[in-house]
């Protein structure tokens, strides 16, 4: 894939900012290469189970705060787009069901799969995460507390979260987003392993 110069620069900046933020928490930061996710086993050196659990989530945070995820977990009613996370053009809005306004449904443009001639991403269930699941502008701690809260996560249990992050095909799109969009780091399988490790280790928050 040919990188787009402007986008690559912005993406690098986003990663750098995140790294700084995580460093400030004082927790161990994984040694995974940029664009990859660490294996849960690589956190074995963290003796404190609570800290280790939080470290899993911090690592998972690379995915959650990635533009592939945040763009459709926006703070407002309008999704974002691209690695820069610019407001979605044309202007589209959440609508009553998260699938867009009546005059412009998500599926109008976003078909069942990515369509590269139009450089447009697709999935049969393309839609916005509910407002209660907004991640944009939130700290990883806030996202962690929110993601565990059934009142705000769509009534999901921890097992449901493992399923959602590790198996859901719309989430999985983040790792095959098509031309010009940097994939979420690692693989969906690796993200699933992290969320599993986190859930099974007490789901501590960073």
């Amino acid at each position: 894939m040919k990188p787009i110069p402007g986008i690559a620069l912005v993406a690098a900046a986003v990663i750098a900012t995140n790294a700084l933020a995580f460093a400030a928490t004082g927790l161990a930061v994984s040694s995974a290469a940029p664009g990859d996710l660490a294996d849960p086993a690589s956190f074995a050196a963290i003796a404190d189970p609570q800290q280790r659990s939080a470290a899993y989530f911090t690592e998972l945070g690379k995915v959650l705060t990635n533009p592939r995820c945040v763009n459709c977990h926006p703070a407002g009613n309008r999704p974002r787009q691209g690695d820069e996370g610019r407001p979605h053009q044309p202007p589209v809005f959440r609508g009553a069901d998260g699938f867009g306004l009546e005059s412009m449904r998500c599926s109008t443009c976003h078909q069942g799969a990515n369509f590269e001639p139009g450089r447009i991403p697709g999935h049969p269930a393309w839609h916005l995460a509910p407002a209660s699941m907004a991640w944009e502008g939130k700290s990883l701690h806030e996202i962690c507390v929110q993601i565990k809260d059934p009142a705000r996560n769509g009534g999901r249990s921890l097992d449901d979260l493992i399923e959602h992050i590790g198996e859901d095909t719309l989430v999985g799109w983040a790792w095959a987003p098509g031309y010009g969009r940097t994939p979420a780091p690692g693989t969906q399988k690796k993200a699933g392993a992290l969320v599993t490790a986190w859930a099974q280790s007490g789901a501590a928050c960073p």
Binding site: K2, I4, P5, G6, Q81, G82, Q89, P91
Partner: protein, 921 residues
């Protein structure tokens, strides 16, 4: 000295290639011209609306991008598709196209590169001086420079190749060399020192002394503006010494003078006309004819440029005749005036003989290769007398980035510089400007044309001056406004009405302005409210504008019009129909635009450059009764209403005077000896009836039938030329001397052929009018009220008001629409649109809408935008162009409103929500 707005390759002289109209063969498809003749006879249409209204709401084939070979009678059945491959790098050696790898995806039938062009003896026209294709082994001159033209016989192969080239690396590059350094496109200095009183002659002005340009550059290629004491700089030295004196005054320590100096930068933007450039071509080796369908703002220029391109080619690549068909245009905004795109359309056909070939940009390609607006860097200094508020001196330095291929940069520099004083009258002025070459995508003509950039810097600075004095911003503008008869920066007055005081009064009285303090007070919690005002005056015309027009009326009273002006949305077809209807009583039901090859009866010839010709040369040339300074010019520079309709209007006037009026007299039974027979100027039309006091109204069909029966004038073809004044000529018609603002005339009597009339006298505007910056201008003032959300920086335009003047409105609804559109484009320019220069910019081929954001309906005060057009100052006032000026004040008004709301003055464009959020944090 003066840069032209167009090149002057005279077709017949330069190439020997005949421009002809192909006799169209009968086929089931209607001929191109029939499709482009609107609204068309017998078409049912609403009583109101544009002449192209029905065609455009029914999806008729109209635009160049609509046509395939199968749509055109006599053309081949199939259409091949061409692809213009452009470089995303201009700082390293280009080493070629990986054609083998591409061929594994889709194999092109033709691969045309620099080598093929050279071998065929093909040369770029001088206006586009540079390579048509980047040669292998060299550093491309600019981002987006073409490297190859590929032609595919089948659409699917073309489409696969297009996608592969868009998304993959098929171009090979070698060592980094850094970008090429090339000379500036032009540098100019405009200095004016007024005399001691408004009535006394100027001490120094470009009009008196001629235009000057520094002859020297430093090691980095920048012009040296100091008056160098060397003999070659003689003319420059005088002007520059006056200029330096203006600067010394501004740098001095006079406590009575408030001097502000500010830097301002504007960005590169794309015209973003909605129809990407497209064309269709076919070279028929059997007949030697090259046929094209194109959509441009400058039809004759495109035809001439193609003729030049091929004029010295080898026999295989040199057509015997070129048949150009110019279509309706899906938006222009200047970006289709003198674009090199048609050259590549022609090349596609010449290198795939016998086949029809389509070349069409997709949007990525249009961003990569289309003409852009010049970004400016400006420093502006104004000194104001603290007591009177009068501006004593003005100095500015402009630098604009013209990108990599020669285009209109020198001309944009001049218009920007001479527009830098906006609506004001300042006695001491010194402006320098330099248009730089860079590796950026080529910049050229775009709505506002330099004046948008410099007047934005000006009107923001004037607002700041008002606050610093302090003085009410409208009062400061009023005190310094140039009045009728006052001299512009080049030393000449405007020759049209100047209505700045009225415009300022309207702005001052408007509720948006009057309620600004109360509205600011009443801002909602979390929001800031601000109000901004700005006023602009913008030239229309270029100093060498012309029009061709034919009007004919048939025995049933039906009117048809042919004109060379281009319909790109500007409503020229409707304006033509309405202006002609004033004379012949009926709105035409057949209007064709963008025609340059249906005026053969005038047998016009031309020579020289209308901008630089000497008076002696013009006088000599004018002895040929067929000579005109220029035959056809681009539809640009807001010139449609004033010049674009002139030839047709004058043709209609001749038809009325020598065809319809004599017929009406005959029907009324008024003898030639009756004094009423001379009162043709007193008659007028209503509902297709001719009215004359004391006589029975006559229906047009009856008059037309009688005119035909009498062998009267039923058709007229004219040419008009303006160099800030009309060419005027006299003709002997039916024993009368007819003098009009035209310089060529052919008449049709009854149903006969058009026959040229020899002019009995002619006066062309003097050549020293070329020292005028502009003599034509129109005004627009804008008010905006904005609301900014503190937390997000989101800006909402709550209300807006624009007031303008343009003489009589030929198509009032079109004028309103232009004002709306200018507002929207101004909002985009001020708040949304930007293209980074160079490698991250559009030249990399990865830009499209979405990343590039233009104004949508939700960005605009759709229900709270008032537009007021001042009525003409006199029934004799001629139509004035207004399509550009309506955009200009919108931009500084928004910046001034932002300053009012936030207390922060932004000195660059665009001002985005993120930037607002930044200063509010």
């Amino acid at each position: 000295m003066r840069p032209s707005r167009r090149d002057f390759i005279k077709l017949t002289a330069a190439s020997g290639i005949a421009l002809t109209v192909a006799p169209l063969m009968a086929a089931e498809q209607p001929p191109f011209l029939a499709r482009e003749t609107l609204p068309g006879r017998g078409v049912r249409r609403p009583p109101l609306g544009r002449v192209d209204g029905v065609a455009k709401v029914t999806g008729a084939k109209l635009y160049a991008s609509d046509f395939r070979a199968a749509d055109l009678p006599g053309w081949p059945a199939d259409t091949a598709h061409a692809l213009l491959v452009r470089t995303p790098h201009a700082d390293r050696l280009y080493e070629g196209l990986d054609i083998d790898r591409l061929a594994s995806i889709a194999k092109p039938a033709v691969v045309l590169t620099s080598a093929g062009i050279a071998a065929a003896g093909i040369h770029a026209p001088p206006f586009y001086a540079g390579n048509l294709f980047s040669p292998v082994g060299q550093t491309p001159a600019y981002l987006g420079e073409p490297v190859a033209l590929l032609v595919f016989e089948h659409f699917d192969d073309f489409d696969r190749a297009r996608l592969a080239l868009r998304d993959g690396d098929f171009l090979r590059f070698g060592d980094k060399t850094g970008p090429l350094q090339k000379p500036n496109y032009g540098a100019f200095r405009f200095t004016r020192i007024a005399g001691p009183t408004p009535d006394s002659p100027d001490v120094y002005s470009p009009l008196q002394e001629g235009w000057i340009s520094p002859g020297f550059t430093d090691d980095s290629g920048r012009p040296i503006w100091r008056p160098l004491p060397v003999p070659e700089g003689g003319q420059y030295v005088t002007g520059a010494q006056h200029g330096e004196a203006v600067r010394a005054l501004l740098a001095g320590s006079d406590p009575d003078l408030l001097v502000l100096e500010r830097d301002f930068e504007t960005q590169s933007v794309d015209p973003m006309f909605l129809e990407p450039e497209a064309g269709l071509s076919w070279f028929d080796p059997a007949s030697g004819r090259l046929s094209l369908v194109l959509g441009v703002q400058s039809p004759l220029e495109a035809a001439e440029a193609i003729a030049f391109l091929l004029s010295k080619a080898d026999v295989q690549h040199r057509p015997a005749a070129i048949d150009t068909n110019f279509a309706y245009v899906g938006g222009g905004f200047g970006g289709r005036d003198h674009t090199p795109f048609p050259l590549y359309v022609a090349l596609a056909a010449m290198f795939f003989p016998g086949k029809a070939v389509r070349l069409a940009h997709d949007r990525f390609q249009q961003f990569q290769g289309g003409i852009k607006r010049h970004p400016f860097k400006m420093t502006t200094r104004i000194g104001v007398d603290r007591a009177s508020g009068l501006m004593a001196a003005f100095a500015a330095d402009h630098e604009l980035d013209g990108g990599g291929l020669a285009n209109y940069s020198p001309s944009v520099a001049v218009v920007g510089a001479t527009g830098a004083l906006g609506i004001y009258d300042v006695p001491k002025v010194d402006v320098t400007t330099v248009a730089r070459h860079s590796r950026g995508v080529t910049a050229g003509s775009m709505r506002g044309y330099g004046a948008l950039q410099t007047m934005t810097a000006l009107e923001v600075l004037v607002d700041e001056l008002a606050a610093a004095l302090p003085m009410d911003p409208i009062e400061l503008r009023r005190r310094n406004a140039l009045k009728t008869g006052g001299r512009t920066m080049t030393g000449n007055p405007y020759s049209v009405s100047v209505r700045t005081p009225e415009i300022l009064d309207k702005l001052e009285q408007h509720p948006i302005w009057r309620q600004r303090a109360a509205e600011k007070e009443a801002a909602r919690p979390g929001f800031l409210v601000g109000t901004g005002v700005a006023c602009a005056t913008k030239d229309f015309g270029t100093g060498a504008d012309c029009a061709l027009g034919t009007v004919a009326i048939d025995p049933e009273g039906r009117v048809s019009i042919h004109a060379d002006a281009v319909e790109m949305g500007n409503g020229i077809g409707t304006a033509l129909a309405n202006r002609v209807a004033m004379h012949v009583g009926r709105v035409a039901d057949e209007v064709t635009v963008a025609q340059v090859d249906v005026f053969d009866a005038l047998a016009l010839v031309t020579s020289g450059d209308p901008y630089s010709i000497t008076q002696a040369a013009q006088d000599e040339a004018a002895r040929d009764p067929r000579w005109v300074p220029e035959i056809s010019s681009a539809t640009s520079a807001s010139i449609g209403a004033h010049v674009g309709t002139q030839a047709s209007a004058e043709a209609a006037r001749v038809i009325f005077r020598f065809g319809l009026w004599p017929a009406a007299l005959d029907l009324w039974g008024i003898a030639p000896s009756d004094p009423r027979s001379k009162q043709w100027a007193e008659a007028f039309w209503q509902d297709e009836h001719l009215l004359m006091s004391g006589l029975s109204p006559l229906p047009l069909p009856k008059i037309a039938a009688r005119a035909h029966a009498m062998g009267g004038v039923t058709g007229a073809m004219t040419h008009a030329f303006s160099r800030w004044a009309w060419s005027q000529a006299s003709f002997a018609i039916d024993g009368n001397e007819w003098t009009a603002d035209i310089d060529a005339l052919a008449l049709r009597r009854g149903s006969g052929p058009f026959e040229r009339l020899e002019r009995t006298a002619v006066a062309f505007p003097p050549t020293d009018y070329n020292r005028i910056g502009t003599a034509f201008t129109s005004l627009c003032g804008t008010l905006v009220r904005i609301e900014i959300e503190r937390a997000t920086g989101a800006l909402r335009i709550a209300k807006a008001y624009s007031v303008l003047e343009c003489g009589p409105m030929l198509a009032p609804e079109v004028v309103l629409g232009q004002a709306h559109g200018g507002f929207a484009m101004g909002v985009g320019y001020a708040l949304l649109e930007t293209l980074p220069p160079y490698e991250d910019g559009p030249g990399n081929g990865q830009w499209n809408l979405g990343r590039y954001v233009v104004a949508r309906g939700s960005d605009l005060p759709l229900h709270d935008f008032d537009v007021e057009v001042l009525p003409p100052i006199s029934p004799k006032e001629a139509p004035k162009g207004m399509a550009e000026v309506v955009m200009i004040p919108v931009v500084p008004a928004l910046l001034n409103a932002i300053s009012d709301a936030t207390g922060h003055r932004f000195q660059s464009l665009p001002v985005t929500a993120d930037m607002l959020k930044g200063v509010l944090a």
